[in-house]
Symmetry: C2
Amino acid sequence: MLLLRRCLSLARFSPLNSQRHQVSPTVALCAVRLCSSSGGGGGGGEDQRSYQHTHRPRWRHALAGLLAGSGAVLAYGLHNHKAEQEDISVQNLKKRSGLPIYSQEEVTKHRSLENGVWVTYKGGVYDITEFVAMHPGGEKILLAAGGALEPFWALYAVHNQEHVLEILSEYKVGELSVEDQKKQQAIKSSDPYASDPERHPVLHVNSLKPFNAEPPPEILTDSYVTPSAFFFKRNHLPVPHVDPATYQLRVEGLPGGVLTLSLEDLKTRFPKHTITATLQCAGNRRSEMNKVKQVKGLNWGIAAISNATWSGARLRDVLLAAGYRPDVAQWAHHVQFEGLDKDVTGTTYGASIPINKAISEEGDVLLAYEMNGEDIPLDHGFPVRAVVPGVVGARNVKWLGKIVVSAEESSSHWQQNDYKGFSPGTDWDTVDFKSAPAIQELPIQSAITTPADGATIDRSVETVTVKGYAWSGGGREVVRVDVSLDGGKTWQVAQLRGSEEGQGPESSPPPGRAWAWKLWEITAPFPHEAEELEIVCKAVDSSYNAQPDTVSPIWNLRGVLSNAWHRVKTPC
Amino acid sequence: MLLLRRCLSLARFSPLNSQRHQVSPTVALCAVRLCSSSGGGGGGGEDQRSYQHTHRPRWRHALAGLLAGSGAVLAYGLHNHKAEQEDISVQNLKKRSGLPIYSQEEVTKHRSLENGVWVTYKGGVYDITEFVAMHPGGEKILLAAGGALEPFWALYAVHNQEHVLEILSEYKVGELSVEDQKKQQAIKSSDPYASDPERHPVLHVNSLKPFNAEPPPEILTDSYVTPSAFFFKRNHLPVPHVDPATYQLRVEGLPGGVLTLSLEDLKTRFPKHTITATLQCAGNRRSEMNKVKQVKGLNWGIAAISNATWSGARLRDVLLAAGYRPDVAQWAHHVQFEGLDKDVTGTTYGASIPINKAISEEGDVLLAYEMNGEDIPLDHGFPVRAVVPGVVGARNVKWLGKIVVSAEESSSHWQQNDYKGFSPGTDWDTVDFKSAPAIQELPIQSAITTPADGATIDRSVETVTVKGYAWSGGGREVVRVDVSLDGGKTWQVAQLRGSEEGQGPESSPPPGRAWAWKLWEITAPFPHEAEELEIVCKAVDSSYNAQPDTVSPIWNLRGVLSNAWHRVKTPC
């Protein structure tokens, strides 16, 4: 109610609103707005404040079409009460006749907050100036200013939902001239995902465009090295198709000037280095946070993590060849990666890592051209990707096109306004993305892959076998996994496996370079007195970091870093 | 009862027992034995298995005189029921007359398990062969074989308790000849702690000999850098008095041969490097584990942690001067430190760290000769100590005498059989010290220093202010502290302080080199509806590691690594 009052005030008194009053968002829309105000501050930082609705039932559509690939938070899913009673669709967009006719030339003049932000969609003209501050994807929406929405919505498929059209309809100010409509249709917007590769049908798809999928959990513990086809896939944009013959990697920012390397150069001018490293998405196990309270992001299960063998040139060697000298470290603090995957505006995926990780002999950062002994598959970054072991998946940039040594972190959305952790008390009204560091090393993690949650265990068995994985960021080795069959009251120590072959304890990797996970297994006497097993696992790494007991206290609005004890209940 | 039966069997059938049957331990003693069997295995590994008594009430004296300094677990504190009803003291030792008279020469023949282990104490002769396996300090007891106990007990003051004498009395086999008694008295056993330095009276003493003490918690947050007098003190042995003019540091194990450095050499031949680093004892907050279930070790509160500014030569520079070359890393994996503090047998305190920490430019390991801008105080390692930032206090060896580059970890008791973490399900019967890595980097930690637990808060206040510290090992910076006033249901973010001056957010140290703690503070509206505040804090580090919620699941038999959320209850 308080919000409703705030919105009414805005609608009445906002100077921006004066001349567009008849088409301003309805009060009802205001009550379900996702974003409350624009970031304001300096620079190109995007702001993603979001209103957390006080009426829980209204959230039923919330995030239905979650963030479909862009780190931008594209979560339009809120319906308002009024809207639910209406039948709004594309047809509605055309209902509002009697509106002025505008030329494309006129529309194009409105490309800023000062001059108004206009867009076109299926022949209609929309003044979305006021909506910019509410856009869950932040000011990225300005990329469409003065032009057509269609190519953007083709890229971010989450927009193709009725309630998004409903919101748009409130902003209609006119019709595009018939001539210009014809011109637009001539420039056909093709599906940028049409040439994405085939994927294995066993994968559980969290988002089709862009493609985000994880394997069934039990497959993860079938083999120490995950077959590439089953390796979790997390794309932010369409898969680019790169010709290996003409591929070029630019290395910029060093005293030696720009170094350009072909794929052949990478393979022949630098020693080939191989590591086995586990990659994990920051959003792995997000679904458990969603059960506590809705978060924004793909609803990953426990399998947004996989382990592969990677080969390539060491980033260190390439930076040295490009002129890196110790004195560079006096001003350069980061190494930025730019992908060749891009949106319709040409904005590429980007991220950065601290330079000490990049240049350290023990950092083992690769410019990888092989995965599990073969060319890197299309979905995993062909022909070259960064592999930054011990660091969150988001910094392991695929389809690598450019490396920039710099004083600052990557300015990309994904580095600045995404992939950061916050207090459970921080909501979209109070979040300040500048207050938290970009996720690099990940914390200790483990999960149970077998048995599955809800699986029934036959009471006649003598023993029960539990399997899972455990991994920690920063090269910290997993040194122990504790398993409980009684919800955490008593604990037993699982057997760890650190290679494809043996089951026994292998010799440890050098300290701080344990990049790969441990698979674990325990066979324990079946507790016949139990009516249900509550199986729990928790791991400990070489810095003796332990997992938190429960999800709520680590809940955060983006649902990242979900590493509480994993629990599975099996009736028996 | 089962144990009782096992003990009876042993007493009857053990071949070792046959000729000493009349003086074998009583069944009652057997029922309270602390150690169930000797380690057996190869090498000099000490075994410290301990019997966990099934009768909880009998534990009332347990660990009363806890491990007074040695890592060896000297916890004789168990009384047996029979003993409690008697009045046993030194006098009792003399009661058993009619026993044979032995010469010192005869006693000296019994210095092994094969020949029997005899010792003398105040004129009595004791055959403690059977007790060796039960000794909580392990086979270290053999160091006294064939001689007098007095000098050892002077070193480990925990033995000076009635129940220890009571146990000893059961093993009496004779009297020492009057002549040899006179000789012994001539060699007066002085108190090795007599020359320990004066300490500040505000310190809370956990053990006087050796000296172990922590400041009142609220003092910790009074200043970012802890004054040396208040810095927690954790000594394993008497404080050695080293003449700085003749002090020599030996560096061994490198191709260059042995390098010997005077204090002057250290100060003049190598650049002086200064860091601010927090040191924490592995046993900090052990008292919270003791509340869950008794553990072995000094009952530290929350203040076995402090922060100081250290200056000295970098270990890296000294190792390079001693001949370290990159190829050394092919065989050398550890750098061992030996202290000049020693027990009566000449055994020195020792520990080791991984060589990559020692040699890394970013490791910042110091051979420190200054603490807070002055000569290092006697209690903190004068004239030179190792400062290994980010690593558990136990590896920051004081009164440093020797550095050894080696393939193996230190063989010291404190590296091999102490300062390791185990599963809560592991007890003294099942523990295998080889199965866990020696603690190096410590996990994320935080605690509330103000208000104190149990302090009453005046209901008339408008706001409540909470203060504390937060720190993480491995150079991981504390990036956030969450505070709850309602036991963890809701959370607010505290303000962090990373230097002596400012309250605001300071610029971060380089990644992986945040050696010093953050002090934190929050002032929140007083929740007038509450009858009691349950204040909780939890911190997050730059790898987004979080503290575990509760103590039980991280409980371990040595009570180390106690880093669950800290909770304080204040009635109001």
